[in-house]
């Protein structure tokens, strides 16, 4: 079979994710004459930040207006971008589509309903966003514990508001923003328990740049409004635990040096957001460890170009994957839009249709990310800072505790995949999304290794696919894609049997 017979690409660029970064890049690329496919899990464009914005703007009911007012101008700010995105008919937008595989050569596996297949792009742009940092604490699997992002999603896309005793615990701008939004909707939280302390705020001041002044003023405004409303608040919260029979009934915590309890129906937790690495990890992209944020992120150049960690004998070609938005660096919507534009300009250069990022795009990325060191210092990871006690569940799917994992690590399971194979940690339906970082830190606690902690080896499909969909895969042409077998994965051969203790 000669090169001439290889079927054509499905698109110049395949974009994964339709939030601020993905939409901005799609518009930029289509305007320059590229063909673009956008794959997104959600039913409508906007990502998590502008979730359900179009429908909410159309909703003229009194409750709809109240909701829009509570969500504030930062939410409505996405309207223009979504409208622009919708205007360009050239964008092949595929909502409600999950991505279960990405390969460094530009092959992307998709699932929509019960249909699945592959599409190939000359370039792939991952704009799949972030996730909330996993926070294992006693009782975090009880019904009635949810993340701040989840509650915001219920507001935006479900028009549901919390009832009963609502407690917010954790740290970060989103926690304070949500508390304010709830207050505007007439919900007075019983308690806001912040893990950050005044000392963190002081240490943040040295990182303050002009670009950080506006967020700072905004944040202080949120705190002041909650205080004025008489919402009980503590800082320096530690030792959070949720208690109850088959649902949350109360929480306990330590603050100001004493243990306290609080009746609670809904415990909203938030410990900051981190790049979602499920796709980069399974694509075999090189990751790096972000110490300040205690999280992995893809190893990228400034314009988002990734590097494959596959050995050259397997894939010697160029890695055509870029990462943008919060999936690359947590920066929020403005930073995501700025970087989406920059990444698109770099892609255009790669495709021979442009001269690379303009200086304005570069400046705008730098400026929008300049506030991060300040926010990182003021809101350090809190709920997840100390590793969990032995009886705390780490792996929610398989209900494995920190003690289960520590015991196996002590007995000799010293690499992530051996630990996973032995315990099933990371083998449940979430495939390690909730437990991987804690498992890696537990390993590190034992080995005292200081390098980038290893991940579970990610293997496609990274999301469940019906067997029938696999049987009917479309678009798979062996001539046009690299083929990887289980043995072809990175680190093969590195996994020494000495890591697995003899029975």
């Amino acid at each position: 079979m000669t090169q001439d017979n290889i079927p054509p690409y499905d698109a110049d660029v395949i974009i994964v994710g339709c939030g601020p970064a993905g939409m901005t890049a799609a518009v930029e690329l289509v305007q320059a004459g590229c063909s673009v496919i956008v794959l997104d899990m959600q039913p409508t464009p906007g990502g998590q930040i502008f979730r359900n914005l179009e429908a909410n703007l159309r909703d003229s009911s009194p409750s709809g207006q109240t909701l829009l007012d509570a969500l504030g101008p930062a939410y409505k700010a996405g309207a223009e971008l979504i409208q622009r995105f919708r205007t360009f008919r050239g964008i092949d937008y595929r909502p409600q589509t999950t991505v279960w595989e990405v390969r460094p050569d530009g092959t992307v596996g998709w699932l929509q309903g019960i249909n699945a297949g592959y599409v190939r792009g000359r370039q792939v742009l991952l704009a799949h966003g972030a996730m909330e940092r996993p926070v294992p604490f006693p009782g975090w699997t009880l019904p009635g514990v949810m993340t701040a992002g989840a509650v915001q999603t219920l507001l935006k896309a479900g028009h549901l508001k919390p009832t009963g005793n609502v407690v917010l615990a954790g740290t970060g701008p989103l926690l304070l923003l949500l508390a304010n939004q709830l207050h505007q909707l007439g919900i007075k939280p019983a308690l806001i328990g912040r893990t950050d302390r005044f000392a963190d705020a002081l240490s943040g001041v040295s990182h303050l740049r002009p670009g950080g002044l506006l967020p700072l003023i905004k944040g202080l405004g949120w705190v002041a409004r909650l205080k004025a409303a008489g919402v009980k608040s503590v800082t320096g919260l530690k030792d959070l635990a949720a208690h109850g029979h088959r649902k949350v009934e109360a929480i306990s915590f330590t603050a100001n040096g004493r243990q306290q309890t609080q009746a609670c129906d809904l415990l909203i937790v938030h410990d900051g957001i981190v790049p979602s690495i499920d796709i980069p990890n399974s694509a075999g992209l090189r990751l790096q460890w972000d110490e300040a944020n205690a999280s992995w992120r893809p190893d990228t150049t400034f314009d988002g170009q990734t590097a494959s960690s596959l050995p050259p004998e397997l894939y010697a070609g160029r890695c055509v994957i870029r990462v943008t938005g919060d999936a690359r660096r947590i920066g929020g919507a403005d930073a995501a839009m700025a970087h989406g534009r920059l990444a698109a300009q770099s892609i255009l250069a790669d495709l021979g249709r442009g001269t690379g990022p303009c200086s304005k795009a570069v400046r705008s990325v730098r400026k929008s990310l300049s506030v991060r060191p300040f926010l990182d210092a003021v809101f350090p990871p809190g709920l997840s800072r100390a590793l969990p006690e032995n009886d705390t569940i780490v792996c929610r799917c398989e209900e494995l505790t920190a003690g289960n994992l520590r015991e196996k690590i002590r007995s000799g399971f010293r690499n992530m995949d051996a630990l996973r194979g032995e315990t099933r940690c990371g083998m449940g339906p979430c495939q390690g999304r909730s437990c991987m970082v804690t498992a890696a830190r537990l390993l590190q606690e034992h080995t005292h290794a200081t390098a980038c902690p290893p991940t579970f080896r990610g293997r496609p499909p990274i999301r469940p696919i019906p067997l029938g969909a696999i049987a009917n895969l479309s678009g798979l042409d062996p001539r046009a894609t690299i083929r990887l077998t289980l043995e072809d994965k990175p680190e093969h051969g590195v996994e020494e049997t000495v890591d697995v203790p003899a029975e």
Binding site: M41, A55, T66, P143, G149, G158, P162, R246, E398
Partner: protein, 131 residues
């Protein structure tokens, strides 16, 4: 609770059978309340009971709107679970939708007449003491 056939039984044979399993508006468990009236509501079925939904809702939203105490029992311990992250990461919202198990309720948009079943089968089959 003894409905071991949740995954396989035809709809008419498996009605909720304990106080905890029922989910009328007044169970006292409601974590969430609607911001306003639900316009142009469509009807779905959760374990055969009719529930309302807005066009464009995800299944997870509808489940939480009902006040049902859990959407699945963890297959390891039988512990009850409700949606946790709402954005497709945690997989706690797994339910059976129109006969296909392990669907992420937070990513699935409702359709009129959709039949949703909570996933209670595995722990019951394994006879967990909790159940």
């Amino acid at each position: 609770m003894n409905d071991i056939k949740t995954h396989v039984s035809p709809p008419e044979t498996s009605a909720p059978d304990t106080a905890e399993q029922s989910f009328s508006a007044d169970t006292g468990f409601k974590l969430f309340a609607a911001l306003g009236p639900v316009p142009d509501a469509i009807t779905l079925f959760l374990d055969d009971q009719p529930i309302i939904a807005r066009q464009g809702d995800t299944v997870a939203v509808c489940i939480l709107r009902t006040g049902v105490p859990y959407n699945r029992l963890n297959p390891v311990s039988g512990a009850p679970r409700l949606p946790y992250c709402m954005i497709g990461h945690c997989f706690e919202c797994l339910v059976e939708i129109d006969g296909i198990a392990n669907q992420q309720a937070c990513l699935t948009v409702v359709r009129d007449g959709m039949k949703i079943r909570r996933q209670l089968g595995a722990p019951l089959a394994l006879k967990h003491p909790e159940v």
